[in-house]
């Protein structure tokens, strides 16, 4: 491989599998910025976000092998997101930080029962299947808006800018998609 040339996901995984430290460098070059932005959306603190991404890289390094993700970018982003959310929960306990999480949680509360409702046994497998099917049933544009907001925790303005839409359109898509998700969860008796 020529020097200075970045690698694709398959080759990245190959570097991790062969325990080449170049894998970490390349992963950071390829997706470090993206993952830092996800962490920032959650934590709104650059130092926390930086630490999060470094932790995520370590997690990924330790996970591969034996894990072999199909999409390295998605795997790295998921790990970063999870670590960032955990850190957010810890920060919240210490009354630190902010970011998009409170807004996102408030928006997602529209999709589910009122918090005061009777606790129900949550069938996580059924929820996973339902969510997966629901997201795949959406028009690609709507799915992108929804996933960028609720997976990557992007602000509405950033989504609008990236996808070349008005902010009002993004908000409208999010609102309609949340309503449809609520309907689907009700139909599947997951609420």
């Amino acid at each position: 491989m020529k020097g200075g040339e970045t690698v694709n996901d398959e080759k990245l995984i190959g570097l991790f599998e062969t325990r080449s430290e170049r894998g970490i460098e390349e992963a950071n070059r390829a997706y470090g910025g993206l993952c830092r932005s996800i962490a920032m959306h959650i934590l709104s603190d650059s130092r926390d976000a930086e630490e999060c991404v470094n932790d995520a890289l370590l997690h990924v390094w330790n996970a591969i092998p034996p894990q072999k993700p199909q999409k390295f970018s998605a795997f790295f982003a998921s790990v970063t997101r999870n670590l960032a959310l955990n850190r957010y929960a810890a920060n919240r306990a210490q009354r630190r930080g902010g970011g998009q999480v409170p807004l996102v949680l408030e928006e997602l509360s529209e999709c589910i029962s009122a918090p005061e409702s009777t606790e129900q046994v949550l069938d996580r497998m059924a929820l996973h299947d339902t969510l997966e099917a629901f997201l795949k049933s959406l028009p690609p544009k709507h799915s992108k808006v929804f996933m960028r907001r609720y997976f990557s925790m992007m602000p509405v303005a950033d989504i609008a800018a990236e996808l070349n839409m008005r902010e009002s359109t993004v908000k409208s898509i999010l609102r309609r998609t949340r309503a449809k998700l609520h309907e689907q969860l009700e139909k599947e008796e997951l609420l």
């Binding site: 970045t6 390829a30 910025g33 999409k71 996580r124 996973h128 996933m147 960028r148 609720y150 990236e162």
Partner: protein, 507 residues
Amino acid sequence: MKEQDLLEEIGKVSEELIAAHALPDAKRYGEGGAEQSVTAKEQIVMSEKKTEYIKNPFIRALPAIAAAAAVLVAGVIILPKTGLMRTPATSVDSEVETSEITETSDFRLKISKAWMNVIPGAELEHSGNLDVTAELEYAGQDAAPTVWYGGFTLEKNGKLLYENVADGVQPEHFENPAAEPAENGAVIYDKEPEPLPVAYSAQGAVPLSILAPDLDAHWIQNEPGDLMLTVYCRVGSPAAEPITVTAPVTDYEVRDFEPTVALPDLNNWTYYDAKQLIQEAGLLVDKRSAYSDEIPEGHVISTDPELPAELAPGTYVRVIVSLGSGHNIIPVPNFTGMDWELAKTMADGMGLILGKNPVPSSEPEGTVLAQSIEVGTEVAEDTVIDLEVSTGSEQSEFQIRTFRIPFQIPTGVTGQFHIELYKDGECVETGSSFDPEYAAGTTSVAVTVENVADVIAYLVNDKTSAKAEIGICHLDAWDGSFSFDKEINMEEVFRQVTETGTSSADQ
């Protein structure tokens, strides 16, 4: 469910979905963001090479000379280790303008599609397959001859990259030795020959599907020069000297090669077995549910795409899983020996309806003695099951009693009268005639009833047959009681049936 649960579950959707829809372009994120990937770089290089190729004046002339001619030959014919090479008597090659087509080689090769499939993760010298769809056209004046296809070679800058040429009409079977990489990274394979006859269709063209596997894709894409394919044919006879047609391969697209996986028909499999098989094949499952009268609950009704099929990795397979018939099917329990009240409660809870049929029996009253549907029979919700329930007595359930119903006779009434009793519209009893002047102030009629009965009593004037209703009498054989539905006014009744009423002065 809490919103945090939903947020967490969104983070667990498939990597496919995350990669496709959740992540913006990493290149937007500057330092530490992604630079062009190798694949993208390769595509850019390929694109640049195509541009250079088109600018080359010689190359620009080729289309005019060879029309859309380009042949890639699929299949490799083993060459013996002796290195016997084909020396065609007639050939058309890249160094000769193809407009000089001889009488015995009035053929043109037209490529309709060409792909360079890059195999991810493969060693460089085996990293690509060249896959081409082409047609061999006969452009001569005579009727199109039969052509025996004899293989192909692939070269670049005069260096042989791939060779698969038949040795003759009845080629020997050659062994398949290991590949011997050439210095330039080219790979030569010896494989079993494929001397298939190729007949022309009415359109005068023969489709050819050509595959040159295990090439050094990186070298091919980046090495300057033209990729030239030569196809070998024997015209008119399998013993004829072979001719060759050579043309450049242009405009082939580079793409990642994705081997397909085969899935069998999964209909009627259990969902969990089907899901496991699909996921083990590197495919993704999209579960849906539907009612079915034929397919048992939890089993697969159908899939989309329909199986069996060859699918690319990462493909979603929609699996429709049966929820059963949609009607609750209930096995009939054993009510026999149970108390009727308990059986009723149980049936209510199960969605069954019970009918009670009292039966004389020495068993304690209310005991279920028998049921109309066998234990264990599967029935639908709301099915009626009749139960024979003990009355607690072996005696008949019927009580018969004879009543004597008295009627008051007012004074001052003359004439002859009698009383009739009707039950269900029929006269069941006719009392004796009486003369009120001589009666003792009352008369009575005897009637026998079973269990409980209502009878209507009428007063009839024997002379005029005038009839007037006295009233409805309810008789209960069980306890021996009887009573009228209203207070009886016998004077009025007599008045109705006499011409002169109760007064007998005028008679």
